[in-house]
């Protein structure tokens, strides 16, 4: 008879055992490691380890021309890559002082809100999966598939979109994209209601999430929480409202806030934000229609006119005109004129404030680019949040924080 599970002296003394949760545990999204000190099923303390998919984004960004950083940002929070793309573009535009036309802003808002919906859907359905309700997850993915189709119609790619360029978009939205958006807006509310009624008022789900993984507003602020996780704790801080970008000030929407910051609050806040995003998309479509009705030439506006210096010339000109060809070469080489400067600019990502701290020395590549990654910040509060809760709670808490590994580890 072999000796069974070995415990070290210290844990025998304390009557606890250590449990290694992750990095390949199904609940840890494949990359987080937690060394839990357990008393039965109760967690006494947790030591998280990160960095299992550290990819050196910031180092790579220092060696790439500005336009080649867009694909990098895709892979930060890959559940809502377009927001990251546009956050990066807005950062550079702010540094360059480009003013984007309203139509571009609204188109961006549509894309960003669609990706916010996609992001929140993943998070909330993964809470469902971690509590054992798999079916809602599959329903949700049907609608994510619709959103993917919209992205694909706009830019040709589903997940890592590389959507948009400095000053606007690569090309105008095809009619197909608008049709798909309208179809989505029609079909989605019913599916969303189904999703909500499967979980929201289900007693098993409520009891599993209420009072679990809570964090007070003070602690959340002290930990620099942002986004839905901060709002669930009761602080109505939203970058879209506090420091509007991309004409968010034109839109009328609410900021849902919770009270206790527990898993259930986060779930509800995200669900509510999905509804708000839907209303924003509808408003944006109306505003675009109004713009186009007032001035039919608006239909062709998809990038800022003064961004000509930073936007690739039209292909026809490149094929035919010499100046355009030379300019095209310069652009692709990355020789655009970016003035030396320093900027911090933030957008409300699917998961909180995504910040870009960019230092330019006037060269072809950024001198330094630092990403403020909300997940990185949430995860360090994780041990404090789960202390004293059960193993099952820890799992649900992790998914409710919506930790995206790519964003966390950079």
């Amino acid at each position: 008879m072999s000796a069974h599970i070995h415990l070290d002296e210290a844990s025998i003394q304390k009557q606890t055992t250590t449990l290694n949760l992750g990095p390949t545990h199904p609940a840890t999204h494949g990359v987080f490691q937690n060394i839990l000190e357990m008393d039965g099923e109760r967690i006494v303390s947790a030591v998280p380890t990160v960095g299992y998919i550290h990819r050196a984004f910031e180092k790579i960004a220092e060696r790439r021309p500005y336009y080649q950083i867009t694909p990098l940002t895709d892979r930060l929070n890959y559940c809502s890559s377009p927001i990251n793309n546009m956050g990066w573009h807005i950062t550079v535009e702010r540094l360059l002082g480009i003013k984007t036309p309203k139509r571009v802003d609204y188109l961006r808002v549509i894309i960003m809100e669609l990706s916010r919906i996609a992001d929140h859907l993943v998070c909330n359905s993964v809470i469902g999966v971690d509590t054992g309700a798999l079916t809602s997850f599959v329903y949700v993915f049907e609608f994510r598939e619709h959103i993917y189709e919209i992205f694909e119609a706009v830019c040709g790619s589903r997940l890592t979109t590389n959507i948009g360029r400095f000053g606007g978009f690569e090309r105008n939205f095809p009619q197909e994209a608008f049709d798909k958006i309208n179809k989505f807006l029609e079909a989605f509310p019913r599916g969303m209601k189904e999703f909500e009624s499967l979980l929201t008022r289900n007693r098993i789900f409520m009891e599993r999430t209420m009072g679990v993984g809570g964090i007070s507003a003070e602690r959340a602020l002290n930990y620099s929480f942002t986004g839905p996780n901060l709002r669930a704790a009761g602080v109505d801080y939203d970058v879209r409202v506090a420091q509007p970008y991309s004409s968010y000030e034109d839109f009328d929407f609410k900021i849902p806030v919770g009270t206790t910051g527990d898993v259930y609050d986060r779930f509800l806040v995200r669900n509510q934000e999905i509804w708000e995003s839907l209303s924003i998309i509808k408003q944006a479509l109306e505003k675009i229609a109004a713009l186009e009705a007032a001035d039919p030439s608006q239909k062709e506006v998809f990038y800022a006119p003064e961004a000509d210096k930073y936007h690739l010339p039209p292909k026809e000109d490149v094929y035919t005109k010499m100046e355009a060809l030379i300019f095209h070469f310069k652009m692709v080489m990355g020789e655009i004129e970016v003035l030396p400067g320093e900027i911090y600019s933030a957008v409300e990502g699917g998961n909180g404030e995504v910040g870009y701290y960019l230092i330019s020395d006037g060269g072809r590549t950024p001198y330094r680019l630092h990403f403020r990654r909300p997940c990185f910040i949430y995860y360090q509060a994780y041990p404090e949040i789960i202390q004293g809760s059960l193993l099952s709670d820890a799992v649900v808490t992790m998914s409710s924080l919506n930790l995206i590994a790519g964003e966390l580890d950079a």
Binding site: P71, C155, A242, G258, Y319, L325
Partner: protein, 167 residues
Amino acid sequence: MQELTNKRVAVDRKPMTFMERLYIPTIIKGLFITVGHIFKKPATISYPEQQRPFSPVFRGLHILNRDEQGREKCTACGLCALSCPAEAITMEAAERTKGEEHLYKEEKYAAKYEINMLRCIFCGLCEEACPKDAIYLSETVAQANYTRKSFIYNKEDLLIPNPNETH
């Protein structure tokens, strides 16, 4: 915490009603939804028998363009390789010699043109960078394969069929 904006609205977190405490009514409600889905048409597209239509701008496997006379358009300027964030494109330029006008459109051409599809991230920057209308990303999904070598697509794999030869 004081209010920062006038846009805040609290989420609906009302306590459970008696019916909800009984478990069973909500479970039955849930069952109605999920069982109802049994009678819906499945959303599944039976790939590979059925193909899902890709958008016309889809970024898939690359193609190298020819002009109407079947000449290769690529002039080996290297912009695509330069703009590739994954550094997946390799090319070697060569001068067109006399008698090759029917093969190559420009005076320079790519003697070797290779894309490492394993490295490629299908971002479409090469297509944007091309000043000669030569490289495009097609509506084809790159195939899975057994060896790493088989992902080096060379010029022959990328060139579109010659319009003069096929007919």
